[in-house]
Point group: C2
């Protein structure tokens, strides 16, 4: 916490220094995975102190994260009223490193970005590059859709795909697009890889086929395309399945 007067509670804006985990389960993920970034926890005066809530509050005490009863915070941040705990956190900035990545080019929906982060942490490709313009990874809607996976993933923004490529020249890029040269089942996987996905409405521009291996997930003509998080989920499954099946066999 900074010194001086307590910070004002404000409705989230993209340029805010802080954001919010709305709900006890998300706040638990925040406090257990990124305690150094958790600033305050607000509870509603009419909260029921279930075992889970008691455990959360005791964890906050141990990690010296202040907890305050503050109904006004809920009126501002979660006016619908089905939320009893809010975790305020300083937005972190963890650059991604040398590894396989997910690369999202111009994603526009907070719920989709959160779902993709949850899936990425699930399949262990938890370093994610996002090419601007793009939705905000710390928007409370993204945080909620990620079910807290946003506190376990690393997400770095880039101004262009070229900037990303310069930073990670070793990575082999696989671009998921409808006009593609190979179906996913025939792709040779070489690590470190980057699984590249376009915007929900427009997909990837054709020019991505010039510097990526273009890949399609075959489907019927009954739909125009798979929904973005589904395509990303299937791709992550296919690229990591050997690893997970081996892990499963060895446990």
């Amino acid at each position: 916490m900074e010194e001086g007067a307590p910070m004002k509670i404000q409705r989230y804006k993209h340029d805010s220094e802080n954001s919010y985990a709305l709900g006890a389960a998300l706040t638990y993920e925040l406090v257990s995975n990124m305690p150094a970034y958790a600033r305050r926890v607000f509870i509603r005066s009419n909260i029921t102190k279930t075992a889970a809530v008691t455990e959360l509050l005791s964890m906050c005490r141990n990690k010296r994260i202040p907890v305050t009863e503050n109904d006004k915070a809920f009126n501002i941040l979660s006016p619908k009223g089905n939320c009893f705990v809010i975790g305020e956190f300083k937005k972190p900035c963890f650059p991604i490193g040398n590894a396989s990545h997910i690369v999202l080019v111009n994603p526009s929906d907070a719920g989709n970005l959160g779902t993709i982060l949850r899936t990425a942490v699930g399949f262990g490709i938890d370093q994610v590059a996002v090419v601007r313009p793009a939705v905000d990874v710390f928007d409370p809607k993204t945080v909620r859709a990620s079910m807290g996976a946003v506190f376990r993933a690393r997400v770095q923004y880039f101004d262009s795909i070229e900037a990303y490529r310069e930073a990670f020249p070793e990575n082999r890029l696989y671009a998921f697009m409808l006009k593609a040269s190979r179906p996913i089942g025939e792709v040779e996987i070489r690590e470190p890889y980057s699984l590249v996905f376009g915007n929900e409405a427009t997909g990837l521009p054709d020019r991505f086929a010039e510097f990526c291996e273009s890949v399609v997930i075959p489907h019927s003509n009954g739909i125009d395309s798979l929904n973005l998080p589904i395509a990303a989920g299937v791709a992550m499954y296919e690229f990591t399945k050997e690893y997970w099946h081996q892990t499963k066999r060895n446990t």
Copy 2:
């Protein structure tokens, strides 16, 4: 159309006889796939007659579906104001037949149901059983999330999993659950199959392992579970991939 006075336009309720496709793209899917169920099309007075809108209106004329300018319909059905075409349709009831199925037990989220229908049509498993209590497949939110796939799929509701099993004793049931005996990569696929998924928050009850082959999609401990439409998408991909890759090679 029924005879007599035009039907009143009402906000959608689950027991309504009619529902609504909100937007030109969805209305196009309605009119091209289920013209016999399309009752009326409403357009907003300030609509821009793009090529797509003109094509839609001409298709309505050919199929004798009445089109009326009616701003009040938009105030009632789509108050946010970014919608210029609404298709009103009688909710159909097409029972599913002998085939492989998706079985959704107690799905509670309209967006998820719509996304699963879109994926199901994409992978060609377009007959879907839904076990009650469950969200409404013709809720305008489901229709929208399906991107119109709801007009290509068949969806039948059942009061219990037992009722479903009695109707389709031939089907081999694969239940996707965390406590499962096999990882998805080691499952022997036998047609016709039923891919069974539980509720978003609670999953499938343990007892499903007694009459289904239980299957898990392996993932890290960083998440509690995959999101329901992602798990369903990965399962449909894995169960149909041989077919789609052969199809792709032969075209």
